[in-house]
Every structure is written in structure tokens, then in C-alpha cells.
Symmetry: C2
């Protein structure tokens, strides 16, 4: 058996009422929005369309029933878009849930498919 | 946040040299073949075509470079198809790797998205 060339793979995401809510890509989008302070700049950086990025954020807010991003007006060049406190809390829960799962899967795999 | 209606989801599988090798459905097919003693009956029970089931087993054997199933001839009604020793060992490694991963994900989810 070519055991050493076998690798475990996984996808993890969360659903709300049976419908996709957030995966790693969308979580990264929220992180990027918060870091760069702009949905359009975050979309550019992640190589997705502005329409796509904005549509996701709006839908996420509607489905969660809360504001996830907030745009502060004012200043030269306009305001910055940041995650709200609750948006940040939600993202952090997702990231904390997510972190370590791949490692756990890799370790479990090595235990059963590793050399003996 | 409608936190109680959010659920974690995942898919787990293994790949050989970057190509899909086995997931839960195919593992269940091997288990069923061994239990019912026939690829065609196992395919019927799992509601997939015989061609599909047999094709998968043959491809799995070719890619692993070992026999996974073995048909014993003889007796009224023909012989029984069973997993080989190595096929069974491979399946058991997969199942042992797989078992508990969903529970681990569910527990990790509850820790971060559960009520406080």
C-alpha cells in the first residue's frame, strides 16, 4: 500500500438553518475588510468582485439579524469600514472553532495511516 | 445572533497523490460488499450502479497496488466476494481515522458557539 502518499483532506463550514453561512474564505474576507477598512479594497485583495463581497456581507447581516460591518464617515478620503463589536465577536468564534481542526485531523490520520 | 440555529458541517476524505481515494460513501460500499458477499448486491443496497461500484473497486485496487476484494468460487449460487486481509486492514484504518472526527468538530463548535 502506498501509504505515505495518502493524505487526509477536509472542508469545514457553518450553516444557519441548513444553509451555508460561513467558511474559511468568507471568514478571511471579514478579516481583510477589518484590516484594510474597506469592502472594495478587501474584495480587490481577495480577487473577488465588489458586488460579491458586499452581497455576502449584506446577506450575512440579514441572516444573523445584526450589523456585522460599520462605516464611519468623515475625513479626507471618506470613512473606514470596520467590523462591529458583534461582527468581530462572531468572526472570532468562528476562527476559534476552526483553529486546530485541521491539526486534529492530521494527527488522527497519522495515528492510523502512519508507518509502524 | 441566532446562535442556537447555527451548526458545524464538514466533509472528510483521503487522497492519494492529490486525487480522491476514499470518503465515507466509498468506505460504506466496501463494508457492504464484505457484509453481503457481492459487489452487485452491495451496489443495489446502496442505490448505485453495479458498473460504478465495480469501477471504484477496480480503480482503488489499481491505485493502491493491491487486491482489495477477493471472490471465492464454488458452491450453489456461486462464490462470495469478501474483502482481502489487506483490503480489510485499509478499510479499518480509514474508519478508525474517520471515527470521532465529527464528534471532535461538534465539541469544538459547542465550546465556541454554545450559550454562555
Amino acid at each position: 500500500m502506498k501509504r505515505t502518499k495518502i493524505k487526509p483532506k477536509s472542508k469545514v463550514w457553518i450553516e444557519l438553518e441548513g444553509v451555508y453561512l460561513m467558511g474559511d474564505g468568507r471568514a478571511a474576507l471579514l478579516q481583510t475588510i477589518d484590516r484594510v477598512g474597506s469592502i472594495s479594497e478587501a474584495a480587490r485583495e481577495m480577487d473577488i468582485s465588489y458586488r460579491h463581497a458586499w452581497g455576502y456581507v449584506r446577506k450575512l447581516e440579514a441572516r444573523l439579524g445584526m450589523k456585522v460591518v460599520d462605516t464611519q464617515k468623515g475625513g479626507i478620503g471618506g470613512g473606514a469600514t470596520k467590523l462591529t463589536k458583534r461582527g468581530k465577536d462572531f468572526l472570532e468564534r468562528y476562527l476559534a472553532f476552526r483553529s486546530g481542526i485541521n491539526n486534529a485531523i492530521d494527527e488522527k490520520f497519522a495515528r492510523h495511516f502512519g508507518k509502524r
